[in-house]
Symmetry: C2
């Protein structure tokens, strides 16, 4: 097993105060306060003081919603997606603990994608005005926000490379390697996990049809690289997976 929920899930849409802040959060090295001193962390605690729970299938925000700030995933799993006029959706990313949601809203104070919980989740609320005012007196926060937005840009460059240069099997391999790395960084097993998303969502993210994703999984299964059963994945040959990715790009 992989991603578990906190033992006590808060009521939906409840914004709760009196919570422990960033300084005592297990994800702090992977999140906004990475690299902060104790004193800086304490000042950050004042910024991130409320949370919100989102049940599986519900939206944290939707394309077009007014932007009031960003969110940090405290527990759970999200997808971000844009829906085109004809109703088809394009998944732009998957987010897990410590990752930020809503960075696309700064442009015109409007969210530019949907953020949907793929399992019951909890996010920390980071209000824009408080974030920007604290950034002005806390250079570490300013730097970290720039870093995180910059990292998102670099990540998307990587996805573009994947979409434009890799074949189906390489894309799926890259997706799994990336997922495994991120799970490992959070203390979960990088070789056995449960996919929180459907084949269709994976395909949408990777620019493939769901059938193609399924076929790739099956082929990797036949080649004894993976053991895939529905959403349960065990990586049997990490090296083979990485070779598939590195073979074409890097």
């Amino acid at each position: 097993m992989t991603i578990s929920l906190p033992s006590a899930v808060l009521p939906v849409d409840a914004a709760c105060h009196h919570q422990v802040g960033c300084s005592s959060c297990g994800l702090r090295q992977l999140c906004l306060p990475d690299g902060f001193s104790d004193e800086e962390m304490q000042r950050l605690d004042q910024l991130v003081s409320s949370r919100r729970s989102v049940r599986r299938g519900e939206a944290l925000f939707r394309d077009g919603d007014p932007f009031h700030g960003i969110f940090a995933v405290r527990a759970g799993f999200f997808k971000t997606a844009t829906t085109s006029v004809d109703g088809r959706e394009r998944v732009t990313g998957f987010q897990m603990g410590g990752e930020l949601l809503g960075l696309d809203g700064f442009d015109d104070d409007t969210h530019r994608c949907d953020a949907i919980a793929l399992e019951s989740s909890q996010v920390c609320i980071i209000p824009q005005d408080a974030l920007e005012s604290l950034s002005r007196t806390l250079p570490a926060l300013q730097r970290q926000l720039h870093r995180i937005m910059s990292r998102e840009i670099v990540r998307e460059h990587g996805v573009m490379t994947l979409l434009s240069g890799m074949r189906a099997e390489e894309r799926v391999a890259a997706f799994l390697v990336n997922l495994a790395l991120r799970l490992k960084a959070r203390g979960f097993s990088p070789s056995a996990f449960v996919l929180r998303m459907t084949r269709q969502e994976i395909g949408s993210y990777l620019g493939l049809q769901l059938e193609t994703v399924s076929r790739c999984f099956s082929r990797l299964h036949d080649e004894h690289v993976l053991d895939v059963r529905q959403r349960d994945v065990r990586i049997l040959d990490t090296q083979a997976l990485q070779d598939l990715v590195g073979g074409t790009s890097a």
Copy 2:
């Protein structure tokens, strides 16, 4: 004709001071100081005080170079690209006057792509330390920086949608429509321009082989949507182009 050089091109690699600042730059509404008051603009002039010229084919920075700040294109045309281990390059974007280069460097103080001038160009140098310190006392600058990074993230979402969902001809149409809009915003003709990049670079950006790009141009030519001769492009039927783009996504 479309993009012209400033009448006096500065010596290569010369960082020149005593230049007019943002407040008198014709591109200011499209660049960092968009929306600034006169007083704010004057404070920005102190930040952006030096320039650099880059000749056609030369790099403004390269993947792995230490990051010291970002650049605004003052004149000319750039591409950004990443080069994979096997030597193939992946174009991640094209930048023209008023657009910023180097946003991917904040993450780990290292540039994460190459920025190559596709014609002799000139950029304004925006040093990171001065940018960040001025952002702390000039909220308009802070907001605008966030907006611009956010816009880059949204732009890349659009490219991802293009790469994963559109067919070749639609991608080429979307590319041309986007280029035309940006040229128009800068006072150039949106219907007649010169491509600064090769078919291969267009293909790399759009996730297509150069032959496919060439074939798409030829087909659009045959259909009297474009008049293409090598790098000279005239758009004959703007509506047809837009229909091609909007037909599949939006």
